[in-house]
């Protein structure tokens, strides 16, 4: 009699990876009609950009969605990448977990080699149709066209058809076309949004999109510079797990433990290898492949006990402060945001042996919606994350930051803040710790969260500074309207009624204002930035002080100046010794900056010295570390003139109960 175990053994059989994912498609993110369409495109576009970057080609990507039936779409993604050699095409598109990056420790978009073949598989499950792949490498004269399906039982590609052909006008590149059931939508989680966000963090790419209605949108590239190529590094020993160590020791080509430690890991020197071996009570010459479990455990403990330098970080490719700004500007210009906080790129740090770095940018105001939660743009290795916002460490970090300090609304000082703002967070790492295979949210690691929080705070402070400046200016602007427009008219009319000459206004004006008001502007035309700084002395005394600005080094134009600066330094610090400005007089300083791009300079940074800071609006007091060489500093001693504080009630603000009905 066959035992129950035998019976069961008959039923137990190997499930192939593809079969497993076919049944658990949500693990890869194909869990709704809307999402599947986005996921497929995301996988194809990620691969295209990765391939272009590896081959040092500026990416040109075209995405087209056509509606075949109500729910069936034909999706085409074409790139100008290096192409795929004929032999490799079936495996890349028709076999899961086949990839070049799975074993490499470096920053890249795709990691496991599941995505694009899963897309092909999902397409074939929902429509029964194969994917068509066209690819041509630069070396070959012909391109290859193949119809590919995934054999889910074996996790192997089935090539239904293959033809060589001449791809007109195409030097190299890959184009995949597949059919898929899905639903096409607009909004925050859509193909358009995904491509738009991709364009923001990949400003070196040109991405065109043709939607099912045939409407074409193109995100032009904002820079011609490729991001620096990322380097591959060896695994860093910190955070190493026993299983990984076992695999590595079995597979290493190095015959001695000493060499294995030195060459298969990063940051382990000869001296350090010796120290580890001593601590683990193992010989430097032992064969790593023959270590038993007990010995491997000792080795791991020893690795954990020594001090090892942080992993090299040149394997990471930050987008960079300038390009984040450029990318945001390029895509957001239509909403005319009033402020782009200078983005922050943090120095690399390490999470469980993997280097990572965090970048943050904030955009504020303009046409952004005022009364809704801020928009959060999350990126992992330059790939937009559209789903699972609530589960992501980025959201956690934003929620636990007190945004009220930085000028956004936030009930109780935690949670997603409200206001006209977009917060961009990019996490780059050789291994981004996602919460699931679908790569939708970054896991909540304390090292990562605290780095994000630090970067958010730095950006938040710039935002607050901007908002403070704006508020003071608008308050003063209101008074400016009184003294420049309303008061002169009152004087004129009253003089006319009483039949006397128009009275002088200076006394009233200085009593209303009692400040030196600095109003400034920057405009850009014909490759020049034109800067205007107007200084209104609305104090009762004449004023003489120094003005300082910071401009991009080397851009100052000496032509056509009325007031020459007393100093223009190599680091871009410019100072003027202003002539005496009489009470109620105005002085204008105009100059140009040459050779800059529009976005290189958009807000003036103005400082004043030699005057009581409370008397100035529109310029900050000169910071102590400015180091004003050769400029005479005379701190003014006079106390600010106290405003005439009459305790009278404002008549026009106390009409609460005027209505009887």
């Amino acid at each position: 009699m066959a035992s129950i175990a035998d019976e069961l053994a008959k039923k137990q059989k190997e499930i192939s990876v593809s079969e497993f994912f076919e049944r658990n498609r949500h693990i890869l993110g194909f869990d709704s009609q809307v999402k599947s369409l986005i996921m497929g495109i995301k996988e194809a576009v990620d691969n295209s950009i990765d391939a272009c970057e590896e081959a040092d080609i500026l990416p040109e990507i075209t995405v087209m969605i056509e509606r075949i039936e109500k729910d069936e779409f034909r999706v085409t993604v074409e790139d100008n990448g290096p192409g795929i050699v004929k032999k490799a095409i079936p495996n890349v598109f028709g076999r899961l977990l086949y990839g070049s990056r799975f074993h490499a420790v470096r920053q890249s978009r795709g990691q496991q080699g599941i995505g694009i073949s899963a897309t092909v598989m999902y397409g074939q499950i929902t429509t029964g149709k194969p994917a068509t792949v066209i690819s041509k490498t630069g070396k070959e004269d012909v391109a290859w066209r193949m119809d590919i399906m995934v054999n889910t039982k074996k996790n192997l590609p089935d090539v239904l058809k293959e033809d060589p052909f001449i791809w007109d006008g195409k030097e190299h590149g890959t184009k995949i076309t597949y059919h898929m059931n899905g639903r096409y939508v607009g909004g925050k989680q859509s193909v358009m949004e995904y491509l738009k966000q991709t364009a923001i963090v990949n400003p070196h790419s040109r991405i065109a999109f043709v939607d099912p209605d045939g409407k074409r949108t193109t995100f032009e590239r904002a820079t011609e510079k490729m991001p620096p190529a990322t380097k591959e590094i060896k695994p860093h020993p910190s955070g190493l797990e026993l299983g990984t160590l076992m695999n590595m020791s079995k597979e290493t080509r190095n015959k001695t433990l000493g060499k294995f430690l030195q060459l298969d890991f990063s940051r382990i020197s000869d001296r350090l290898a010796k120290e580890i071996c001593e601590k683990a009570d193992l010989s430097m010459n032992a064969n790593p492949a023959k270590l038993n479990l007990e010995e491997l455990k000792r080795l791991l403990a020893a690795i954990g006990a020594v001090k090892i330098m942080a992993p090299p970080t040149d394997c990471l490719s930050p987008i960079g402060v300038n390009l984040i700004k450029k990318g945001l500007r390029n895509v957001l210009d239509e909403v005319r945001p009033e402020f782009y906080a200078p983005p922050v790129t943090r120095d690399p740090k390490v999470h469980s042996g993997n280097p990572f770095l965090v970048e943050v940018g904030i955009v504020y105001g303009g046409g952004l919606p005022k009364d809704s939660p801020v928009q959060i743009l999350r990126f992992a290795n330059r790939v937009p994350l559209l789903y699972q916002q609530g589960a992501c460490v980025v959201t956690k970090a934003i929620e636990s930051t007190d945004w009220r300090r930085y000028g956004l609304e936030q009930r109780g000082g935690s949670g997603i803040p409200f206001g006209p703002a977009i917060i961009l967070v990019h996490v780059a790492s050789t291994k981004v710790p996602f919460t699931s295979e679908a790569k939708e949210a970054i896991a909540n690691l304390p090292e990562i969260q605290s780095e994000i929080e630090l970067a958010l705070r730095i950006c938040g402070r710039s935002l607050k500074t901007h908002l403070n400046k704006k508020e003071t200016k608008s308050k003063t602007r209101v008074k400016f309207e009184i003294v420049q427009e309303i008061l002169p008219l009152i004087a004129l009319k009253s003089a006319k009624i009483v039949g006397k000459p128009v009275p002088k206004l200076s006394g009233s004006i200085t009593k209303i204002m009692n400040v030196v008001w600095i109003d400034d502007s920057v405009s850009y035309e014909k490759k020049h930035h034109r800067v205007r700084v107007s200084i209104y002395n609305y104090t009762p005394q004449s004023q003489k002080f120094n003005l300082h600005m910071v401009i991009p080094p080397g851009s100052f134009d000496y032509k056509g100046l009325q007031f020459f600066p007393s100093e223009v330094r190599d680091d871009g610090k410019v100072s003027w010794e202003l002539p005496k400005i009489a009470s109620t007089e105005r002085l204008d300083i105009n100059f140009s900056l040459n050779g800059l791009n529009k976005e290189d300079y958009d807000e003036n940074e103005i400082y004043a010295s030699g005057i009581n800071p409370v008397l100035i609006i529109g310029a900050e007091p000169l910071p102590g570390d400015w180091d004003v060489k050769g400029m005479q500093i005379t701190e003014s001693e006079e106390a600010p003139v106290q405003e005439e504080e009459d305790e009278e009630v404002d008549y026009d603000e106390s009409k609460e109960a005027l209505n009887d009905d």
């Binding site: 009184i482 009152i490 004087a491 009319k493 009630v649 008549y651």
Partner: protein
């Protein structure tokens, strides 16, 4: 130019002179005015009405609002002086539209221009008629046995009996009810009843209340216009007719009564011309709601807030009103005058009013 006109021009020029002098001497120009708030109305024992107290506020060029109002004041001064010089006058609404051409000084709403006109009345101690500004609000109507003579547009005196010589809508109270325009010749009526709503006024007319009880019916049309209040005051003072006020039973009606009897907050500077201190409140009172089991509505949030505001209003600071307001808050209900129709169309004239007026001693 008449004496009144001379006085007006002098006062207006004084305002401009003061602003001019302040600028000329290097100060921030401002105007000081009595605060027109409910906290700043005081009982004036001499006239028996409520007038502005001593608290003042400043309209100063230090703030944009104040500066703009000062500028508008200058424009309005010039405008009024022109009208006086050319023997013209304008309605308040016309002045609001004329300000369209004043650029920066343009009024942003008619409320604003109306308020400024009242401000000028206060500062110059001239009535707005003297400033050549007319309200477009027309007074309401009167039905009852009083005889008046009114100067018509052609300068002829017309003798009118407000019961026999008028149609169903009664005698229309003109904008100007001063002696040069309207004279009260005589009456056989015993009292004046001022009615808030048109529906109730018509009911009393249809039921012949005026003839049956020798009453003069005055329609208030909600919060009464200045001319209506002035007319009631003259009927009371010159024809010695007692005045009673009949309104809905809600917080807003209390305020209507207060402006007839005690003076309105907005026009407290001329309360002695407009208010009738001996006027009495008939109802609907809060206790009527329970006594007569009237159909009601719940108080809204706004109603409740209004009642609480009235508890802080000096005009309602007596035992009677405090009781009424608190009862209404406790009931959390209000009722309309026309709710009396629950007992039939004649109930108000056959039962409710005779009962109430008897108790008050108005009907013998």
């Amino acid at each position: 130019m008449t004496d009144d006109e001379n006085k007006a021009v002098r006062s207006l020029t004084n305002i401009a002179q003061s602003i001019y002098d302040q600028i000329d001497s290097g100060r921030i120009p401002k105007m000081t005015l009595p605060l027109r708030t409910k906290g700043n109305i005081r009982f004036d024992p001499k006239h028996g009405v409520f007038k502005y107290g001593k608290a003042t506020g400043a309209r100063s060029a230090k703030k944009v609002n104040g500066a703009l109002m000062l500028l508008r004041t200058m424009y309005v001064l010039e405008f009024i002086e022109d009208m006086i010089a050319n023997s013209k006058s304008s309605t308040l609404r016309e002045m609001y539209y004329i300000s369209e051409g004043w650029e920066k000084a343009k009024f942003s709403s008619q409320d604003e221009s109306n308020l400024l006109a009242e401000d000028l009345e206060i500062v110059t101690a001239c009535m707005r008629e003297d400033l050549k500004l007319r309200a477009e609000e027309n007074g309401a109507s009167i039905i009852g046995d009083i005889t008046i003579s009114e100067m018509d547009r052609k300068g002829r005196l017309k003798k009118i009996n407000c019961r026999d010589d008028v149609g169903d809508s009664g005698y229309g109270i003109p904008n100007n009810v001063e002696r040069e325009k309207v004279q009260l010749l005589g009456t056989n009526a015993k009292f004046v009843i001022a009615v808030e709503t048109g529906g109730m006024f018509d009911r009393l007319v249809e039921n012949g209340f005026d003839e049956k009880f020798d009453a003069v019916l005055v329609h208030l049309k909600g919060q009464p216009a200045r001319s209506t209040r002035r007319m009631i005051k003259r009927l009371n003072e010159e024809l010695k007719l007692p005045v009673v006020v009949f309104t809905d039973g809600d917080p807003w009606s209390f305020r209507i009564f207060a402006s007839v009897a005690y003076g309105a907050i907005k026009t407290a500077h001329i309360s002695e011309y407009l208010a009738t201190p001996t006027a009495e409140f008939v109802g609907i009172t809060a206790s009527d709601i329970t006594n007569y089991k009237l159909p009601t509505d719940r108080l809204t949030d706004v109603d409740v807030r209004a009642l609480h505001a009235e508890l802080k209003d000096p005009r309602f600071a007596d035992e009677y009103w405090r009781g009424e307001i608190e009862t209404m808050l406790k009931l959390n209900k209000k009722a309309e005058q026309q709710a009396l129709a629950k007992y039939g169309l004649d109930f108000v004239t056959d039962k409710y009013l005779p009962e109430k007026l008897n108790n008050m001693g108005v009907l013998r």
